[in-house]
Every structure is written in C-alpha cells, then in structure tokens.
C-alpha cells in the first residue's frame, strides 16, 4: 500500500471544482491569444474581443476533460518508457527556472552559462533519483532568442533521459519540437514516443497570455505533452487563503485544458503548477514554505479527482546556500510531494526561491528523494511470519539477529543505503574523514560524478543534423558560432 497524504475531503474538492467553474464565467478568463479565443468562441464561449475576457461555460470544459488522456509516458533516447504520467506514479526532475548557479568555492550566485548547464545535466544524468532531466538554467552566453531552444539542445547532447522543458515564445516552441523530431525520427514518431514535455504557464490571476495559450495550441497539434504550470500567489496574484489559491489554480488549469483540447482533442496534458504563498514582510515567494507545499498537495488532489496526470514544484529552498534551512525545506517539500502522489516533482537543486541552481544541492536532494521514495514503498512482507520465525536460537542477546543469515539477505531490501552525502560515521570516523559537512561532501561527490561522466553515445548523423539546425537559428539571432562544447565540457 502506497502511503498517501490528503488535505481535502471529497465535499471540499467538489466545492473547489464548482467555484472554479464559476470563476471561468465571472470574472472569466482573459485569453490574450486570438487563435485561442477563436477556438473558444467556436465552441460556444462568450468572448469579449475588447477586454479579451472569455466566459467559458462548464460544458466546454467537461467535454475537454472527457478527451484528455488519463496517462501517458515519456521515453528516453533509446525509446524506453521511463516516466509515467498518471495514477500515483512519482518522479523527480531538477528545477528549471534557474538564471544563476551557486559557485561552491565563492558561494556567489553567478549568472548561468553553457558550462554551468552542462555540469548540471551531467550530475542529474548520473543520479538515478532523477527520472528526467530538465532544461535547468538559462545560458546567458547565447543570444536571448535562443535561450529556450539552446537549453534543449544541450540536454539532448548530454543526456539520454526524458526531458522537462519549455519554450519562451510561440515561434521557438515550433523549433524545439523540430529539434526533438530530429532525434525521434520525425514528428509522427515523436508523437508516438515523446521524449520531452513542455511547461506552459498561465499568468495569475486567470490569464492565458498570447504566449501561454499559443504554446498550448502548438503542443496539442504536435501531440507533444504539455504541462500546465499555474502559479497563483496566495495574497498577491490569488486569494490570500490556501483554498482560494487552489480554486484559482483549478480555474486556470481547466481553462487551459479547454483551449488545449479544442486545438487537438486527445493530446496529452498535465495538471501542474508552481503556486506559492506570498511573503508579506519580504515580498517574496517562499517555495520552501510548508503552506506552498500544502497548496500543491491540495491541487494535486483536485487533479486526481478529475483523473488527470499531475506535476508540481517542490523540493526547492529559499535559502541562498546549502545549509540546514535548505535541508529542512527541501526534505519536507519532497516528502509532501511524494506522499501526495504527484507524477512529476520539479524543484531539486534550486536555491533562492527558484532562481539559483546548484549541482551540489542536486546530489544532496537526491538523498531526500531516496528517503521519500523509500517511504512510498511502504512496509514490506518478505517473510512468511512477520516476526516469530526470527526467534529460533535467539537468546536474549542484543546482537542475536546479526548472526542470522536472513539479516544479511534482507537488509538491503529493507533499507536503502545512502551515499557518502549522508554521514553515519562515529564522531571519530567522521573526524578522521576530515570533519566534512554535508556541503563539503557534496562538492566532492559532484567532482567525482563529473570525472566519471562520459557523454552518451548518440547517432552522429542526428547530432550533426541537430547542430546544423541550431547553428542556423543562432546565425539568425546574430551569433556566428555556437559555444565550443568540447572545450567547455572536455570528454
């Protein structure tokens, strides 16, 4: 039995959905994309072209919900299904909103560039806790027009895992789909076995921007999975109450699903988000706050009641360094996300309210993720009796059970053995090991991973085709040569 956390009873879920339907009528949803408004109008929604506010009736949404796939998979480079969106499957990927990286030597939050993203990809590639890669940070050494697709380009070159990504414009989403199609062997094959999922964000409160709605439409038509990342901020861009924020989240997701399914019925889409409470004293968005996790757990429950695949942002911290705060906030965030049965939990590696990525944090977070995954496996029954059979020859001695053969046979199934990130040494052993704290051990582990990493063997023809494709786009953006990856990331 997979242990589960529920914050909402059935009656409350019904009320949330009812009020979300009411919000779609009043105040309605602002849809800033003309094509999306056209689709909604055609389906019978009341569109005010002046204010761009659309009143979306319940029947349109109900119909859309009837057509959304209940589950789908993401595939790795080899075409193996690796990430299951649907049910209570739980996966983790690194957070992908970073604009800076933590430099472990100086503790500076440095503006991220190509070499930084490559380092992050290598670390995430080597850790089994991450079921997918993400396009984790923006690389500021390439022109802005390329920022989104260049991240995807790097991940494709350095990873075989499924990818959580996202486009920044309505034009680049097409180009990024093209890039994936190169490796899939055409757009049809990509639709059949999607390697990547694209985040698509509404703007709180209750707005689908031109870009957000445009992405939904393009992804739906390409049959490439879309992940709605709705971000109500309780008290600023959403009602101050957690339940009010959850209701607004539902309205934003439901309207997104309507647009998406009207563009192409049956295309895969995920009920996701990155909501947060609003910190009134500092004006911040604390992603490590427990209330943020409670909003996430609640909206996931709403999504599940509708039979939808789910996503959220948890496991991040608001701390600026890898300290005890980072441990508390990230550990609890992963735990709540996992117990909520959220299919994809993004946020690992992130510091400073989702602004800064850290490979060192990725390796520490991997330990929390292992703990959360172990908890999800629950209590096991590997023996016929639970206990009585163990007491043969036991003679009331403290170490009696150490001598049993079954102890050596079963302990690795019962316990997950952590890496050296987790110190379980005696104080003497720990001192002999150099009295390292968790951050210092993480730095060592990142160095080890980077040293051991070897680039995945990819089809050279496809690599060349991808490179040529991206180089063309780079030249159009005014960049004559792409950063030399061999120099930035020597083999």
């Amino acid at each position: 039995m997979q242990p589960k956390l529920s914050l909402l009873d059935d009656a409350l879920i019904v009320r949330i959905i009812e009020e979300a339907y009411q919000l779609m009528l009043k105040p309605g949803i602002k849809v800033q994309n003309a094509e999306a408004r056209g689709l909604l109008a055609e389906a019978g929604a009341d569109v005010n072209e002046e204010t761009q506010v659309v009143r979306i009736p319940e029947h349109i949404v109900r119909k859309a919900l009837g057509m959304v796939p209940r589950e789908f998979q993401l595939y790795d480079y080899e075409g193996e299904p690796k990430v299951r969106y649907g049910g209570d499957a739980v996966h983790f990927d690194p957070g992908s909103s970073g604009i800076s990286v933590l430099i472990p030597e100086t503790l500076e939050h440095k503006t991220a560039e190509t070499a930084d993203l490559i380092r992050i990809i290598k670390v995430a590639e080597s850790l089994p806790q991450y079921d997918a890669q993400s396009t984790a940070v923006v690389c500021h050494d390439v022109p802005k027009d390329l920022h989104d697709l260049y991240r995807l380009y790097l991940v494709i070159l350095f990873s075989k895992k499924p990818i959580v990504t996202g486009a920044f414009t309505n034009q680049t989403v097409h180009q990024m789909i093209d890039m994936l199609a190169i490796f899939a062997g055409g757009r049809d094959k990509l639709r059949e076995k999607p390697r990547a999922i694209f985040d698509a964000c509404p703007s709180p409160p209750l707005i689908w921007s031109n870009f957000g709605a445009g992405n939904l439409i393009t992804l739906a038509r390409a049959g490439v999975p879309a992940e709605i990342v709705s971000m109500p901020l309780a008290g600023a861009a959403a009602p101050v109450t957690l339940l009010g924020a959850v209701t607004q989240h539902a309205a934003e997701c439901l309207s997104g699903i309507a647009i998406h399914q009207l563009a192409h019925a049956g295309s895969p889409i995920v009920w996701g988000g990155a909501p947060a409470i609003f910190e009134m004293r500092k004006g911040g968005t604390p992603y490590g706050a427990i209330e943020t996790a409670m909003i996430d757990s609640s909206y996931a429950q709403v999504g599940k009641s509708l039979g939808l695949p789910t996503h959220t942002y948890l496991g991040a911290t608001d701390s600026k360094v890898l300290d005890m705060q980072a441990g508390i906030e990230s550990g609890m965030g992963f735990l709540v996300g996992a117990l909520s049965g959220v299919n994809m939990i993004s946020g690992a590696g992130m510091l400073d309210s989702l602004l800064c990525q850290s490979p060192e944090k990725l390796v520490i977070d991997a330990e929390s993720i292992s703990m959360a995954k172990r908890l999800l496996e629950g209590m096991k029954t590997p023996t016929q009796t639970l206990a009585t059979e163990f007491y043969e020859g036991v003679n009331f001695k403290g170490s009696d059970f150490l001598k049993q053969k079954i102890t050596m046979q079963l302990f690795q199934q019962e316990q997950r053995l952590p890496t050296k990130i987790i110190d379980r040494d005696s104080i003497r052993g720990w001192k002999q090991g150099g009295s390292l704290d968790t951050f210092a051990r993480a730095r060592e582990q990142v160095t080890d991973i980077l040293t051991a990493f070897s680039r995945p063997e990819l089809d050279p023809a496809k690599k060349a085709e991808l490179h040529a494709y991206v180089l063309t786009l780079a030249k159009q953006a005014g960049m004559e040569e792409l950063p030399r990856l061999d120099e930035l990331a020597p083999a």
């Binding site: 039995m1 242990p3 914050l7 909402l8 409350l12 009320r15 949330i16 506010v53 409160p205 901020l233 600023a236 861009a237 101050v240 109450t241 957690l242 009010g244 607004q248 609003f278 911040g284 706050a289 427990i290 209330e291 996790a293 409670m294 701390s319 300290d323 005890m324 508390i328 550990g331 735990l335 117990l339 520490i364 703990m371 172990r374 908890l375 629950g378 209590m379 096991k380 009796t385 639970l386 206990a387 009585t388 163990f390 007491y391 036991v394 403290g398 059970f401 102890t407 050596m408 079963l410 019962e414 053995l417 987790i422 110190d423 379980r424 040494d425 720990w430 009295s435 704290d437 968790t438």
Partner: protein, 492 residues
C-alpha cells in the same frame, strides 16, 4: 480535515498483534526484576526460575490494556494542563539522551556539564514549539549517582513547562518522584497533576531489566506517568525486517504494560520508543533514516488501534554538524512524526545518533516543527465561498490585485506561519547586505538573543529552598559537598 500518515493495513496490524502475543509465550519475556516476576507469578504466569523467562498469556495483556488510561495530561508549574497524551495530539520536546553538546564556535562535541543543560533549558523554555522540557543532557560535573536527579533539579529550577525525564536506577526514581512532590505540594497532588513523565526502557530483544521493570513498578505505584521507550534495532537486536521490528516492539510494550498495570491498575503509561534500523556498514543506529521514521509511524499506528497514548524519537540527525543533512533528516522525520499523530515527539536538538545536543539546532528544529504543526493544522475555511468572493470589481487581471484587499491583511497570518529570523526569505541582495549568514550563523545569533532575553521563572522560594536542600543532601551522600553554583540563583 487533519492530514494523516498510515503505513499499515488493518490486516497487517492484526497480524502484528497476533504475533506479538505469540512472542510473549515463545521465546517469552526475560524479566530480570524479582518484584515484577512476583507480580506475574501471582497471576499464574509460568516463569523459568533459572533463566527468568516469563510466558505471558494474551489474557493478561488484554486485562492490562483495559485498565490503562486512554489519555492524560502533563501540567506546567502553574498547574495548567499543557501536554495532552492521547488521541492524535502532537507535541514536541528536546531529545534527552545527550552526553555532549556542540560548541558553536569550535564545532567540538563537548562533554556536557551544568552550564550546558541550563543553556538548553533556557532556549527550549522560550520556544513555543516545545510543549515540554526534557532533561536533555547529563551533567558530568556531578557524581554519577545523582546525574539523573540533578538533571530534573535543574529543569525544575529553570522551567515552568512539563518535563520529560527518566531515572537511571531503581533508587533514584524514588528520589526524583520525591523532588516532584516538593513542587506539587503532596504525593496526591503530584499524582493528580503530574508535571513530569519518566522514560522507561526495555532492553531488546524482549528483556525487562531489573532497572526497567523496577522503574515501571515504582512509577505505577506513585501514579506518575511512565513512557515505555522500546528500542528494537532492526537486524541487530530485533528482526531485520521492519515489520518484525514493529512486532518485537509491540511485544516489549505489552509486557511492560502488564507489569505496570499489575503494580497499580489505572496508572498512566505511554506506548513509546526509539526504534531504529541498524546500519550494517558502520555498525550505527541511524536516527535520521527514513526507515527509522517508518518503524515509528508503524508502531504508533499499532498503539492507536489499542487506544494507547504514544511517544517516539524523531527529529534528530546523525550528522555531526548543523548542516544540510541535519535539516533534511530532522525535517523529514519531524513531519513523519507529526503526520503519524504521535503525542510526544522527542529528539529535537540532537546530532550524532542522539549523543550530542545543540541549542542552535533546537532553534532551527523549532522551524521544522512549526512547519509540521502547520501541516497538521490542515487547510482552513475562513470565508463563505472558497474563492469567488475574492473576485470583486477591483480584480482586474493584474498580478498584485489581491494585495490591495483588506481581507489579505486580515487573514495572511492565520493562513501562514511566519518563521523567525533563522529562516531566510530575503532577496539575495538583502541577504548579502545582512552579512551573507547561513542558517547556522543565524541560529547562533538567535541562541544568543534567547539567552539574553531569558528570565528565570518565578517560583515559590520555599519550594526552591526545599528542593535545593533535598538535592544537596543527595549530592553529599554521593560525595559532593557543594552543588555547582547556579548564576541565576542564590542558594544556600
């Protein structure tokens, strides 16, 4: 709706109980206390005269379970009930097994003395997240014979909160009960409104030592709450499987409750423990492991089916420092404990497998506890409509629309726990401007603030003097002519 974590199906719980009853018969329970054996034999329990192994029948356990109180309170100095043992109430107290304390400046684990315990008491006293004090560390500057009673003496002098404590011998448990009576006014009053609860430990596997069983009997007769702290170690002193460990835990608690209730039916006792897995590589007992938390969550579920008050050891870390590992282990396990609805969760402040305490960790753990308590507070319904009422005419699809609403300022403090300064939610710029402090640095500052702002509780001077002379008498018998000087008190 209160969120809850459960790991066991009803069927598994039934099997655990059934097999625990079997263990009480075979291999049986080794009872090393003569009086306890006599109590059992009076009920026709078969006891091997040589090995002292008792075969305790299920009927005796069931009778004992019937006479156990389902709930009770601990009281503060002023006589207010502030800790509720029973149901799904959740409380936290600092861990109490410390023999060392982290020196925040040198990072050494110093052998603890009087000043260390006083520092911990002062910090815990001011943090509302700790519902009770604990006799957190041993003071090595007093003789061994008085180390348990001396800890209680200090807690009584420096705190008004309820106290989780424990005696180290069958003699000192009587002395510590006497000390509580001094403050309560009479034996009857200390029974009516107990200030403290005593941890009592069986020895795994399936042993009630002379000292453990003796404490159970003394506490039962005094009517002072006892807290069973069963410590099965999966793979060493208990079966390697987690369910096997939970079953042994059940059998040890059953046997303890029988002895306790035979000594005095109706006395309060708690189903508790400090179970752990055993780390085969290091020979260690990782208290921060999630498997350890799973053992605790499971045995608490067993207890709840029997309607027993519950206790556990969670919120500790195996790290030697107040670092990221300390945060993730303590945070995850405190949350598991809270979601399991455990009445008293001990372990905050502890590093290094429960050996070392840290005042800095106490203040950071308080934030993890606040988060766990907020979580079990659940989502709240403050308004008639969940959402629609918020979208008045001023809401115009702008990101900051809701900031202007009066209700936002009225409700945000009820919805959100506002963390103390040890949690950083600043911008990077502001964080740098404030000195780029990490959580440990901030905790050090907060501890200094708390120590500066502490004022000792106003206690009845007559009681204080009587307690002091009682303690001094014990110390003299143990060969210590004078008790360590206490800065905050002038005691003769």
């Amino acid at each position: 709706m209160r969120p809850k974590l459960t790991l066991l199906s009803d069927e598994i719980i039934a099997r655990i109980l059934a097999e625990a009853y079997e263990l009480l018969l075979k291999p049986g329970i080794k009872v090393q206390n003569e009086e306890a054996r006599e109590l059992l034999m009076r009920e026709d329990v078969v006891i091997d005269p040589e090995t002292h192994v008792a075969q305790i029948p299920a009927s005796l356990v069931q009778r004992a379970l019937e006479s156990v109180p389902r709930e009770f309170y601990l009281y503060d100095y002023d006589g207010n009930p502030t800790v509720h043992y029973g149901g799904d109430s959740v409380h936290f107290d600092p861990g109490s097994s410390g023999i060392a304390m982290l020196n925040p400046d040198t990072l050494e684990h110093e052998t603890t003395e009087t000043e260390h315990l006083i520092r911990l008491l002062k910090v815990a006293e001011q943090l509302p997240q700790y519902d009770a004090q604990s006799t957190a560390v041993i003071c090595h500057d007093v003789p061994k014979d008085v180390q348990d009673s001396y800890r209680l003496y200090l807690a009584l002098l420096y705190s008004k909160k309820p106290i989780v404590t424990g005696a180290f011998t069958n003699k000192t448990v009587q002395e510590m009960i006497d000390m509580l009576v001094v403050f309560a006014g009479s034996a009857e009053a200390s029974r009516q409104k107990p200030r403290a609860i005593f941890d009592v430990c069986p020895a795994p596997p399936l042993i009630w030592s002379n000292f453990g069983a003796g404490n159970l009997i003394a506490l039962a007769r005094a009517g002072i709450p006892a807290e069973i702290v069963s410590v099965p170690l999966s793979g060493a002193a208990a079966p390697v499987t987690m369910l096997g460990t939970v079953t042994q835990h059940t059998a040890e608690c059953f046997a303890g409750i029988v002895i306790h209730q035979l000594a005095k039916p109706g006395s309060p006792i708690v189903w508790g423990g400090a179970a752990a897995i055993f780390d085969m590589r290091k020979g260690a007992t990782p208290m921060g492991a999630v498997e350890t938390a799973m053992l605790d969550c499971s045995y608490a579920q067993v207890a709840k089916t029997l309607n027993m008050p519950t206790h556990t050891y969670l919120g500790a870390t195996d790290s030697k420092l107040v670092d990221a590992q300390a945060g993730l282990e303590s945070g995850i396990s405190a949350m598991v404990g809270a979601l399991s609805g455990i009445n008293m969760i001990s372990g905050s402040g502890m590093l290094d497998f429960l050996a070392c305490h840290s005042a800095e960790k106490l203040v950071l753990d308080a934030e993890g506890i606040a988060m766990a308590k907020r979580m079990i507070g659940g989502v709240k319904q403050h308004t008639d409509t969940l959402a629609t009422g918020f979208y008045d005419n001023k809401i115009n699809f702008k990101g900051g629309d809701f900031l202007k609403q009066k209700i936002t300022m009225q409700l945000f403090r009820e919805e959100q726990h506002l963390p103390s300064s040890v949690i950083d939610r600043d911008s990077t710029r502001a964080w740098k401007a404030a000195g780029s402090l990490d959580a440990f640095d901030r905790a050090k500052l907060r501890v200094k603030e708390l120590l500066a702002s502490y004022s000792r509780p106003e206690l009845d001077p007559d009681q204080v003097n009587r307690l002091h002379s009682y303690m001094l008498d014990l110390a003299k018998k143990a060969g210590l002519e004078e008790l360590p000087r206490l800065e905050d008190y002038e005691l003769a």
